[in-house]
Amino acid sequence: MRRIPLLVPALWLLGFVALPLLVVLALAISQPGDGVPPFVLPYSAATGWQPNWEPLGLLVQDDYYFSAFLQSLRVAGGTAALCLLLGFPMALGITRATPRRRPLLLMAVLLPFWTGFLPRIGAWTGILRDEGWINGLLRGLGWIDAPLPLLYSDTAMFLGMVHAYLPFAVLPLYASLSRLDRTLEDAAADLGARPATVFLTVTLPLAAPGAVAAFLLVFIPAAGEYVIPELLGPPEALLVGRVLWQEFFQNRDWPVAAALAVALLLVLILPIRLFQRLEARQ
């Protein structure tokens, strides 16, 4: 009786988290096949142990995959940095607001997300495309003759990414800033620090772990993002998520898709461990 709350979730997690991840590992060293499912596992009783290192090797040798990782890191890093830059003053502003207004401002950060993820991305396409809102506005003002190519660009992709991930930065920043003891800032002022110095010597260093956590909370999912680059980004923005999707759905090369997943996990393992450390400390 007492074991049920442990056993049931434990079995669930083994079945739907541990096992699938192990299968991804196994698949990354499998032979592609023509059957359904389209692969042959590296071990069977009949053939014994037959690993296929080709998919993983491909990732190192082929520039196409390597540049996908570089692109992913660039987009995820840029998105996280922009979210931090935009989110920090927001979180600080909410912390500094009166206690009555704080929940309202937090709601104001979250409410846009209740329209659904995809319609919001759709809205950006509607705003940015050639017949879109911005080009219509600029043409109406007579400032341009031909539409500006806004959609399917880096700008569009970053706008969509930052828009989608900004709350992931604001919320942990707010959590860490609101935990900050305000008397520390009073004490710094009492010891002669001007407001800007108080911010640089007390607020910022104490908020640093929260800022790193916020950065990682954006960076980790953004590194594997598929939908936003696909709908807003330029065709050449082939991020890992997009390449993995292509290999899986279009090329039906499951072993390479799995190898990409394994490689993505390897790349993210350090940020993930760092993030979990920061979380555990709080």
Partner: protein
């Protein structure tokens, strides 16, 4: 300075949403172009069988997976916060937290492969579709509920349960009369979170679903790929209205429970 930053950020967050909501009522065929007030896109939405069916399926999957997530995630959070050390605790905690940090494409691919292998080995699940999406969403929802419940329990005095035991309550009665009422707001919040995540997910669902399990986000995604139509704006307004309604009711309920 911070004030300017705050309003700048809020403006950025709200601009597309406000535009989207406004142009949902435009008569024009071109999205984000004003052609006079009209409800035609809401009518078009209501007449779109494919969307309606997908929405109904998504709602059922979301409700089912959120409920499963609360049951499993609640137990997981409780185990992590209260059960003390046991063999494999570190692995248990890592597995429970994994869906929170895995990129969506990895979660989707791994769950699909898991289902394929399970099917090959046991014959279950017989086909991919609504059931596999529900199981996948319950798994990610579990992780979120567990975090919320664990945080709530960690902030709660463990001696409350000890006091109940001391006063003669069995573990189950102590849980039902003391712990459960205190974590109820977290369970409700966790349910809503899991429900929302399920309704919003396109990547994991695309991987694990089959021909019979086309969810609403999957339909919307294909619509967006083929080219934006004003129907999507109308759909977003409907979702926002429903979310506000559910959020309002939930906020009211949470406050009642909190009191």
């Amino acid at each position: 300075m911070t004030r300017i930053g705050l309003w700048l950020g809020l403006g950025f967050l709200w601009l597309p949403v406000l535009l989207l909501a406004g142009y949902a009522f435009s008569d024009s065929r071109v999205p984000f172009q004003w052609g006079g007030f009209s409800l035609r896109w809401f009518a078009a939405l209501a007449a779109n069988d494919r969307l309606r069916e997908a929405a109904w399926l998504s709602l059922r999957i979301a409700a089912g997976s959120a409920t499963l997530a609360v049951l499993l995630g609640g137990a997981t959070g409780w185990v992590l916060a209260r059960r003390g050390p046991f063999a494999g605790r570190a692995i248990f905690g890592a597995l429970a937290g994994a869906p929170l940090v895995l990129p969506e494409v990895v979660t989707g691919l791994s769950l699909l492969l898991g289902f394929v292998l399970l099917q090959a080995a046991t014959g279950w699940p017989a086909e991919r579709g609504a059931t596999t999406v529900l199981l996948a969403h319950a798994t990610t929802g579990l992780a979120y509920v567990a975090v919320v419940v664990q945080a709530r329990l960690a902030g709660m005095d463990a001696s409350l349960e000890d006091a109940a035991r001391d006063l003669g309550a069995t573990p189950w009665v102590a849980f039902r009369t003391i712990t459960l009422p205190l974590i109820l707001p977290s369970l409700l919040a966790g349910w809503l979170l899991a429900f929302t995540l399920s309704l919003d997910d396109v990547v994991v669902a695309s991987f694990v679903s089959g021909p019979a399990g086309t969810t609403l986000p999957m339909v919307v995604f294909s619509m967006l790929r083929l080219g934006l139509t004003p129907e999507v704006n109308a759909l977003a307004v409907v979702i926002l209205a429903l979310a506000l309604l559910v959020g309002g009711v939930a906020g009211w309920a949470l406050r009642r429970v909190g009191n």
